[in-house]
């Protein structure tokens, strides 16, 4: 006789493995299930009998602590309403009618900017573009909607609608003229053209899509809110994504974080690469741009 307190003993006998026929005939010999309590401490005892693998009778005592949720501070009236009978169309519904579901998606209160940062203050230090904006606003041209002087591409209200901008569109136009002046007709890749090294590269990076950081070696439990929580300390985050297996719903262990500012992304990489998170060592690096 095995008497067990606490959780139900994980007996090797599982209902799925039970041979139905002989379980039924044996059950006949077992004493009935007894439920004691719950007592004033919220302890409830359930005594069950079953046969183990060797065909021996086993008494299983399960002790359950019942707790009332402290948050349920309902008024007397509200408690009474909980017991009201259903009416109207709701009468016929049972647990299987799926009118009420809990969302499978975790919804965040999305902050427009990182907490603590001031509203819409462009980071001007070491940013020649921002300095130029201050002298003349006409420089601010949105690449998505083409509006001048109103907002940056990253702040465009129609950002979501835009097609992924083909990188050939914003080739530095100066390069074209310089090659034309030289009289050469051979193709010069954008990266090799004059002024490309110092300008084109950094400007491309400035685009919002480029401030994307790849995070690998995440634990399976890490979800988007966790990642957001981790990275928001470095600056405003525009997107967080954790790859999830379509079939199993389990995290695939990597994700992407997009920053509004490149400097913040850089800081995050420096700080969090090799950071121990949830028993695993994170690997944080620039996301390689998708070839398309």
């Amino acid at each position: 006789m095995a008497v067990d307190l606490g959780r139900a003993p994980a007996s090797k006998l599982r209902w799925g493995e039970l041979d139905e026929d002989d379980a039924e005939e044996m059950d006949f010999f077992l004493p009935p299930r007894i439920v004691i309590g719950p007592d004033e401490n919220g302890l409830k005892k359930v005594i069950e009998y079953k046969f183990n693998d060797d065909g021996k009778k086993v008494k299983v005592t399960t002790t359950i602590q019942i707790r009332k949720l402290a948050r349920a501070r309902l008024s007397k009236r509200a408690l009474e309403r909980r017991t009201w009978a259903k009416f109207g169309d709701a009468v016929h519904e049972d647990a299987s009618s799926r009118l009420t579901m809990v969302s499978t998606e975790e919804i965040l209160l999305e902050r427009p900017r990182a907490p603590g940062s001031k509203a819409e203050e462009p980071k001007s230090a070491g940013d020649p573009l921002a300095a130029m904006v201050k002298s003349g606003a006409s420089l601010m041209v949105c690449r998505t909607c083409g509006k001048k002087g109103d907002h940056w591409t990253a702040k465009c209200p129609y950002k979501d609608l835009a097609q992924p901008i083909d990188s050939t569109i914003d080739k530095p136009p100066t390069a074209e003229t310089s090659t034309g002046a030289a009289g050469k007709t051979t193709y010069v890749p954008p990266g090799m053209r004059a002024g490309a090294a110092d300008k084109g590269g950094s400007e491309m990076r400035r685009r919002n899509d480029e401030n994307s950081v790849r995070v690998t070696n995440l634990s399976e439990d890490t979800r988007e809110p966790d990642l957001h929580e981790l990275f928001r300390t470095f600056g405003p985050v525009s997107r967080v994504y954790v790859a999830v297996d379509q079939k199993t719903g389990v995290s695939r262990g990597f994700g992407f974080v997009n920053f509004v500012h490149r400097e913040d992304a850089e800081k995050a990489i420096n700080k969090l690469n090799g950071y121990g998170y949830d028993n695993l060592i994170l690997r944080v690096e620039w996301a390689t741009p998708r070839p398309n």
Binding site: L74, R81, W84, A90, L99, T100, E110
Partner: protein, 326 residues
């Protein structure tokens, strides 16, 4: 947070209302059937059957025993909340739009739409304790404003009625004589249809949401404009948090234009603003269509939104919501 999705209505939601203790949530939709839900887990308690048109608005008495609903079928009905039986039906000759019980539940204000040559009206009915003694006579009828009156609520101590609607002007009426006491300033006020009007939990302020893409906070006694919350979507619904200095604003582009654009561009999130700083706190996504109805639970720890997509989304706030710093 993981919202609870309630799919009980087959047509767009029009209005949401919590009872005073915040354990029941009443929903109105264009599908004729106002529904009551448990506000904690979203289980459906019952459906009030009897209307024959879209239900635009509802209100529940302070003791959560009586429900009043206004419908496009030209009736306003009184219901027993517990059993779902219809107690009385006020008949009008045009669709009813807004309904609200007064403080004390002895009176109800009802607005009717302009219809077949008739102008819109604001009417006050007496509500009897005993439904058998209920009579249909109006004790006050106010006519005047042009266009539909989308909302009418009782002012402090039932002394006034505050109305707003298609002409974008907010008006304060004397609830005894029907006299027009005050109008909102045209310059600073809304420029387009006012779609929603809610009172703060103590009744001292009102918040109006308008299709001119802004929501405004007013003093409910003097109708002075206090704050303006500017957003980039037409505002269909708004509410004031009873717990924190937050307001929530929902809307989105007009339902007729939704099919033509991507849902991300439709701006269907519920936006939270700081009530005093007028700054945006954040957005809660989820609906596939414009938000038509918003309501905070009276305890301020959850809110629900109803959309053109027919879903009610019930959000219990995460603990970090309560510690948000601007």
């Amino acid at each position: 947070m993981r919202p609870i999705l309630m799919k009980g209505h087959e047509r767009p939601l029009t209005f949401l209302k919590y009872n005073r203790e915040g354990d029941l949530l009443f929903s109105c939709a264009k599908d004729h059937n106002p529904t009551v839900w448990f506000a904690d887990n979203g289980d459906r308690l019952g459906v009030y059957r009897g209307h024959n048109g879209a239900v635009w608005c509802c209100d529940v008495s302070r003791d959560s025993r009586r429900l009043i609903t206004g419908s496009a079928d030209q009736t306003v009905k009184l219901w027993d909340v517990q059993s779902g039986t219809q107690l009385y039906s006020f008949n009008f000759d045009s669709p009813a739009r807004a309904v609200e019980f007064s403080v004390g539940d002895k009176l109800a204000v009802i607005t009717t739409d302009p219809f077949m040559g008739q102008t819109s009206t604001i009417q006050v009915k007496r509500i009897s304790r005993d439904p058998n003694e209920q009579v249909g006579d109006s004790i006050l009828t106010i006519k005047g404003p042009q266009g539909r009156i989308n909302r009418a609520v009782w002012g402090p101590l039932n002394k006034t009625i505050i109305s707003a609607g298609e002409d974008a002007v907010i008006r304060l009426w004397d609830s005894e004589t029907g006299q027009l006491l005050k109008e909102s300033d045209k310059e600073t006020g809304h420029q387009k249809t006012v779609a929603s009007l809610v009172k703060s939990s103590d009744g001292s302020h009102i918040l109006t949401g308008s299709l001119d893409k802004s929501a405004k906070l007013w003093d409910s006694r003097t109708l002075t404009l206090i704050k303006t919350y500017v957003t980039e979507r037409p505002v269909n619904a708004c509410d004031i948090s009873p717990l924190l200095d937050h307001v929530v604003i929902g809307g989105g582009q007009d339902a007729s234009a939704v099919t033509r654009t991507d849902h991300r561009a439709g701006k269907f999130e519920a936006k939270f603003f700081h009530k005093i700083l007028e700054e945006e706190i954040g957005g809660v996504k989820g609906h596939f269509g414009p938000i038509n109805a918003l309501a905070f639970n009276p305890d301020g720890r959850s809110f629900s939104s109803g959309g053109e997509d027919g879903y009610i989304r019930l959000h219990h706030f995460d603990s970090d919501y309560f510690t948000i710093k601007m």
